[in-house]
Amino acid sequence: MVRFIIIRLLQTVVALIGIAMLIFVLVRVSGDPALMLASATHTAEDIQQIRVNLGLDKSIPEQFWIFVTDVVQGDLGESLFKKKPVTEMIGAALPNSLRLIVPSWAVAMLGALLLGVLGATRRDGFLDNGVKFIAILGQALPGFWVAIVAVFIFSVTWQLLPTSGLGGIDHYVLPVCTLGFFVLPGMMRLVRSSMLDVLDSEYIKLARIKGLSERRIIWKHALRNAVIAPLTVAGMLFAMLITGAVIIETVFSWPGIGFIIVEGVLARDFPLVQAIVIMVASFVLGINLLVDISYAWIDPQIRYQRT
């Protein structure tokens, strides 16, 4: 198990370097950052000055080396507009994002698990059709539109909840629910179908032959096997949460990572955007690592094979 984690960890580091390289190349290939930053009022000297500031006058390998060493040291550059180190900005925004993402994730996961299982076990019943309806609707409505409509209904028309910004618990209700709704349908669908597959299996048949109660069969025998498949897409779930967070934070003016990256994009604050992308990339890799490990924990076969 330890050895397995070490291998995965090494692979993760290699992948991180690969991604840094990819981002570096992507940015250099797709345009001259200095020209992008320059507006009509800049003279040729100004542009040259920006180049020097960003280190763009050096050779490509040299630039890459500087880029990598900076990243490794945690120096992700300075925001072009706020004139602050981007790490500082991210540090301030990240907790806000987590405050939004973690409860949404919990709400979505619990909801998906519960509804997915109930749907699968009462196949084609009233509840199952309700579950399917939520899934269809949730996957068809754009999240930002749902958020806007929710604001219109709950905050503007009924004035029950605040429209935007940080604050007390009431400020959380709308953003958390809408973000949760972002990821819930997909997960629910997956839990449902994976549960249906498991319920079809021979060992569930054997559990029935044993005379176990349906409840025991579902929550003991089927569930643990059924969560293996949704777990494999936990990475995709993370991607969906980040995407959702960017949108929801924008709609609710929630000062998290998503909010500042959108600001950064609109202001063409290139170091900020790049830094956030790199940060998210390392998160992605971390999540992949965690998934692999928890996978091994749930499925004893993997756990034993790799010790």
Binding site: L206, K210, L212, R216, P300
Partner: protein
């Protein structure tokens, strides 16, 4: 003669699907006695597995339904039991062994855990040590070496033969009256298969359990069963003691099956073979179901279904040729 444990009378089970009604089991009757093994033999789709599942009332929902018939276990018609009462029968009074040991155990729980479940459920034992004792004795019944050390093993750590013994332990853990074994040895190698059959003969001697042995392999039938019912397209065409089936089969289908299998004890140059395929269960011939393939077909065979005739004590045949 020992007492009758299970009696199945005129059982009809169908699957209702988009393309119509599949009459998987169409009027099947037989009985099994204490300490007796009854073989249900036939080719794929003849209805032998569905018969087994009907007895447990575990047909795939919602398509499968028992249309009519009577299934009596120790004098109780189990088709009249409530769902809850039926559940108390399963695992305790009637149990089953499935074909493929590689998929019939839950991969994420230990063997001990899985055997303990029926013990806790049906014998209402909660004391941990008592349960463990019961589990170990179930493993011992199936001759699993070093049972104490096996409790914590996961299924994937065992060979196919061992897993099938674990499935046997689960089935026998509450000492049921009736065991349905659905091709339990088909997925096993020849020498392991012989071990398993010998083992089950011992288990039967120790527990007096009645066994319904579902298989397509006549070799297994000969070694294991006391009496045999041969199934074709949803019906039992011939029932008799095992040696009678082998030595004096009366139904042309039984005869064809027995003679189309090559013999190990002599060299054959050609095999007896019947042409064609079993009929579709959606579109059954009006008369005898075997008529289209039968070498001795007569006019009446294509028009009317033959009735079951008892030609001697314990030997019944459904064929127009047999009077």
């Amino acid at each position: 003669m020992s007492e009758i444990v299970l009696k199945v009378e005129d059982l009809h089970t169908s699957f209702f699907t988009r393309s119509g009604e599949f009459r998987a089991v169409d009027g099947v009757s037989f009985h099994v006695r204490e300490a007796e093994t009854f073989g249900l033999v036939g080719e794929s789709a003849c209805g032998k597995t569905v018969t087994g599942l009907s007895i447990l009332r575990l047909l795939p929902e919602p398509a499968g339904k028992i249309v009519s018939g009577k299934i009596t276990l120790d004098g109780t018609n189990i088709l009249e039991l409530s769902k809850k009462e039926m559940r108390a029968y399963r695992g305790a009074m009637i149990s089953m062994i499935l074909q493929d040991p590689m998929t019939s155990l839950n991969p994420v729980y230990t063997v001990g855990n899985q055997i303990a479940e029926p013990v806790r459920q049906h014998q209402r034992i909660q004391d941990k040590n008592m349960v463990e004792e019961k589990v170990i004795s179930a493993l011992r019944l199936l001759r699993i070496p070093a049972p104490e050390r096996r409790l914590q093993d996961y299924p994937f750590q065992m060979s196919g033969g061992m897993r099938q013994r674990v499935v046997g332990s689960i089935a026998m853990s509450c000492y049921p009256r009736l065991l349905i074994a659905d091709e339990p040895t088909t997925a096993l190698d020849a020498t392991i298969q012989a071990q398993y059959i010998a083992l089950f003969k011992d288990v039967q001697k120790e527990t007096d359990v009645a066994i319904i042995f579902i298989t397509h392999d006549f070799g297994v039938v000969a070694n294991m069963c006391h009496r045999v019912g041969v199934m074709y397209a949803g019906k039992i065409v011939e029932t008799a003691a095992t040696s009678t089936i082998f030595k004096a089969p009366r139904h042309p289908y039984t005869n064809a099956l027995i003679h189309s299998v090559p013999r190990l004890d002599r060299k054959d140059d050609r095999l007896y073979s019947i042409e064609g395929q079993p009929p579709s269960l959606l579109n059954l011939p009006p008369g005898c179901r075997f008529a289209p393939r039968c070498p001795d077909v007569m006019d009446i065979c294509n028009e009317q279904q033959p009735q079951e005739v008892e030609i001697s004590e314990g030997h019944s045949v459904s064929c127009w040729k047999v009077k």
